[in-house]
């Protein structure tokens, strides 16, 4: 059993971690008084919830306008009745029309002989039946000869496809569910740490559980919101919309922003902690020490609901202000002030990716969980509310592999037996680095095929050297890609391409926390494209029909949402369905499967000292680890002094832009125009020292290689730090790989030209999680004029990628 803790836990209580467990009170509110479809001025309006592709996986409320006569897509607007975002939309959904009618959309299934990988003119159109038959034949053949475990199913941030793709692979018999960022260092580590320590996941309370939102009786705005390690206004990560923070600011919330960069939120903050990238855990430990020593903690909560307070305090002791300030580069007084603000009630923390992107991210996440725990913020109005998938709907989390895979099949999961934190914390992913290593080395056995769905791994998660991810995929005999657009990964590595339709063209379920809503099909998919869900359902049934109940994909949706007590057709009539939300569930026996008071952890308390980490051979208390490449630390094998002289700047990566979601949207004209070129931020002083002016193309180089980005001089940036965009590729450039003048590989659509991933050292921490993607070292210097790859020509992009409304 993957999710079961087999060892007996001394401290008593249940020893089972079930991230998908919760006791759901009845349906509380719905939007059933509103129609889901009506007519207006010769158009049909369909109320729906967006859910990538395209866009992100937040699922804002939308109204889709289609032509009454032809049924064709006309436009999208926000849905003002929808409580989640109240009619607002970000630029990524606003430009939906340019995605729908994009001339580069792939509209038919295609195949290509593997010997022609990388050659764009070698694709051949096939029918869906042919494509399915080919996949089935090849996958079955590999399974018969080498076992289902030799096929890897990979996903990126996932556009809500995780439960469908994993069900497909479990129907096939493979437990190799992969996400390829080194150390799986995105979101999953924070979730894993939360479940181990709190038996639950928590989010800042911005009234998102209430249909009347900020007017709800009993809700109060957080007094303080800590924006920690993300730029939520742009990122909108993991179901929480960044502008909810602005809503709270208007209602009096103060901000404390922890970010190396002066973001807009940082500029508006009561307190901005300009942290050295990668040192968040040290800051959290130092704040904890002050909170304990200056008696700011919540005694009632700590005494009754926390476990291991003494050991926790012991772990913070070495973090006096002087040391913390030296490590984090934050002035002592500001750290102290942050600790005092954290202790005020209610305070909440909007944390993000920077926490995952350190080698010891689990320990770092724990350090932050402990702060909101000892100050008693959990499940109070305006604090950190516990959340989960409403009604156990399977639209975000994968199904439990134990339901369909044998013990043997589950055990085959790469890394599953090597890292207890991966084995026991409810995570069902493989360990990313081990998976790539195995794909490259074929040890202990060869990976023969890949199913690649909603990920463009070559642009988003490839890490050094630039060919690693590509080679790993290409070592397999047979690769299948599902996407709406041709991508570098598909072009360079794949043999079958299954075209995915966009959200106005399909049915589905929107649900990441808080509520559930149908995504309603408003128009026909262009060409022969199909939804991610439909494809998994159609193929999955061929392997194991029992796992896909229902005669239509909609009937299958009804099955996955059965605990709502309504069918897919019925939920459509309700628009949005919210469960009843209770504060302080832990005081009422609503936070544990056995109905006991407290939290769903072995001790029934928040584990400041983690009994599970202890069992797993990890340090049970939070701790800090210096990044492997930093001004104070360089790995053995390098001459430290020499290395620091050559690469003196901290390189932080993954800067989010309004115009894109990871590698998506580079081909959407009105989005590309907002941010046409890959950029990096640099301080005026650092730029001047190097003769760099605004807009100059520069090399960013370290011991692994170099990439080219355009300088954006930022007045308030620390002169020792540069910050880089991520996941660039250029849909307008050559689909074929090529070499630059010095023999550097550009990759398909130039994806290695400007992508920091290719100069980031891969490798995870002791837990199997975490990689310092946001804290590496580099040097920056001007490109010679003849070295510059290309300046984006917006006129060309506007022309080439103009929407073609004739597409059907």
């Amino acid at each position: 059993m993957v999710k079961r803790i087999e060892e007996v836990v001394e401290q008593g209580g249940t020893n089972e971690i079930r991230p998908d467990f919760f006791r759901e009170p009845p349906v509380k509110y719905t939007g059933g008084d509103l129609p889901w479809q009506w007519e207006e001025d010769g158009m049909v309006v369909t109320r729906s919830a967006s859910w990538a592709a395209p866009g992100c996986h937040d699922g804002c409320g939308v109204l889709i306008y289609t032509d009454k006569q032809t049924g064709k897509f006309i436009k999208v607007e926000g849905d003002e009745d929808n409580p989640y975002y109240q009619g607002r939309l970000c630029a990524r959904c606003i430009t939906l029309k340019e995605a729908i009618y994009h001339p580069d959309r792939v509209l038919y299934p295609m195949k290509r002989d593997p010997k022609f990988r990388g050659q764009p003119d070698k694709w051949q159109r096939v029918t869906w039946d042919e494509a399915y038959a080919l996949i089935k034949e090849r996958f079955d053949e590999i399974k018969a000869k080498y076992g289902a475990k030799s096929i890897v199913f990979s996903l990126g941030t996932g556009r809500g496809t995780a439960p469908y793709m994993t069900r497909l692979q479990y129907a096939f018999g493979s437990s190799q569910y992969a996400y390829f960022l080194s150390g799986n260092s995105c979101y999953v580590p924070r979730v894993a740490a939360s479940f181990v320590l709190m038996g639950a996941y928590t989010c800042p309370d911005t009234a998102q559980y209430f249909i009347d939102r900020y007017d709800h009786q009993g809700w109060v705005p957080p007094k303080n919101i800590f924006v920690w390690g993300n730029n939520p206004l742009i990122a909108n990560a993991d179901g929480n919309l960044g502008h909810w923070i602005v809503d709270c600011m208007k209602r009096g919330s103060k901000l404390i922003t922890i970010d190396p960069k002066l973001t807009w939120l940082a500029a508006k903050s009561e307190l901005w902690l300009q942290i050295r990238p990668g040192t968040d855990a040290a800051l959290a430990l130092a704040m904890g020490k002050i909170i304990v020593e200056e008696d700011l903690y919540d005694h009632e909560f700590v005494d009754n609901w926390c476990y291991g307070f003494e050991q926790y305090y012991e772990a913070t002791k070495e973090w006096d202000l002087a040391r913390a300030s030296e490590v984090t580069w934050i002035p002592e007084e500001k750290i102290r002030r942050a600790a005092y603000l954290m202790a005020e009630k209610p305070s909440s923390v909007q944390w993000g990716l920077a926490i995952d992107m350190t080698m010891e991210c689990i320990a770092g996440s724990a350090a932050i969980v402990d702060l909101w725990s000892i100050t008693g913020q959990i499940d109070i109005p305006g604090g950190m509310i516990t959340t989960h998938q409403p009604f156990n709907i399977q639209t975000w989390n994968p199904p439990d592999p134990a339901e369909s895979l044998t013990i043997e099949e589950q055990k085959a999961r790469i890394g599953g037996d090597d890292f207890p934190a991966l084995k026991y914390s409810g995570v069902v992913l493989t360990q990313a680095d081990m998976t790539i290593d195995q794909m490259l080395s074929s040890r202990p056995y060869k990976i023969r095929a890949n199913w690649i769905q909603s990920t463009n791994a070559l642009s988003c998660t490839a890490q050094q050297p630039d060919t690693r991810m590509e080679q790993a995929y290409c070592n397999a005999e047979f690769n299948v890609m599902l996407d709406p657009f041709m991508t570098p990964t598909a072009q360079a590595c794949c043999d079958v391409f299954l075209p995915v339709c966009l959200y106005p063209e399909r049915n589905g379920i929107r649900s990441i926390y808080y509520f559930v809503q149908n995504t309603n099909k408003a128009c026909k998919p262009l060409g022969e494209s199909k939804s991610d869900m439909e494809i998994c359902w159609e193929l999955g049934r061929q392997w194991n029909a029992e796992m896909w109940p229902g005669d239509t994909v909609e009937e299958f949706f009804s099955f996955t949402m059965k605990e709502v007590g309504m069918s897919f057709e019925e939920t459509r009539e309700e628009n949005w369905i919210y469960p009843e939300f209770h504060y302080e569930k832990f005081r009422k026996g609503e936070q544990r499967p056995d109905g006991q008071l407290g939290f769903n952890t072995p001790t029934g308390r928040i584990e400041l000292y983690s009994t599970l980490f202890g069992q797993w051979g990890q340090k049970p208390v939070p701790h800090y680890a210096e990044p492997p490449y930093s001004p104070y630390n360089v790995p053995d094998g390098f001459n430290k002094e020499e290395y620091l002289q050559r690469y003196p700047l901290i390189m932080t990566t993954g800067a989010r832009q309004w115009a894109s979601f990871h590698s998506e949207h580079r081909q959407i004209p009105h989005l590309r125009a907002l941010h046409p070129n890959p950029e990096f931020e640099i301080s005026p002083q650092t730029a001047a020292e190097r003769g760099i002016k605004q807009g100059d193309w520069c090399w960013i180089e370290n011991h692994i290689g170099r990439i080219q980005l355009k300088a954006n001089i930022q007045p308030i940036l620390d002169s020792r730090v540069v910050s880089l965009d991520h996941a660039w590729w250029f849909p307008e450039r050559d689909a074929k790989d090529s070499l630059d003048k010095n023999g550097k590989r550009m990759g398909s659509y130039g994806t290695y030209a400007s992508n920091p991933n290719v100069i980031i050292q891969a490798g995870c921490g002791e837990s199997g999680f975490g990689n310092n993607c946001k804290s590496q070292l580099c040097q920056v210097y001007l490109c010679e004029p003849e070295e510059i790859y290309a300046q984006t020509d917006m006129a060309e992009i506007a022309l080439r990628f103009a929407p073609n409304e004739e597409l059907i």
């Binding site: 939309l89 970000c90 606003i94 002066l262 009105h670 989005l671 907002l674 308030i716 917006m794």
Partner: protein, 129 residues
């Protein structure tokens, strides 16, 4: 009509720019609604900052300014709908109406401005589409 009463009849866009985050939703909504190319705007964001004013105090604002190609979404407002930029504004800092009514929204606590674009002044409007 006296000059004064004419100004009260003017229509405009109110911006509570204290909370404008520079998200571009207004710009892009206008471009999509009015079929404007990538290098033409009915409303255009201006970025002011960031710079440091004094210790721990920064200037960093965004203000969207309607252009002569803004028709105040005449075809929407005539049907009682909000202009699309107003509807999609992610910080909910925009409003549309008669200048006199908009003025009442000034709360004396945060940074406001009202723009009366050419189309709000009753002089001839340049067709945006």
């Amino acid at each position: 009509m006296s000059e004064n009463s004419q100004s009260t009849e003017a229509f405009g866009l109110l911006i509570n720019y204290e909370y404008c985050t520079g998200c571009h939703s207004c710009e892009v909504s206008c471009q999509m609604e009015h079929n404007l190319p990538t290098d033409r705007w009915g409303i255009k964001l201006q970025k002011i900052g960031p710079w440091q004013i004094k210790q721990d105090v920064y200037q960093y604002d965004f203000v969207p300014i309607p252009t002569d190609q803004c028709d105040l979404c005449a075809s929407r407002t005539s049907k009682g709908k909000k202009p699309l930029c107003v509807k999609h504004c992610q910080s909910l800092v925009m409003d549309y109406g008669k200048v006199n009514d908009l003025l009442k929204r000034f709360d004396g606590k945060s940074k406001f401005t009202i723009f009366v674009p050419k189309s709000g002044t009753k002089s001839e409007v340049i067709q945006v589409s």
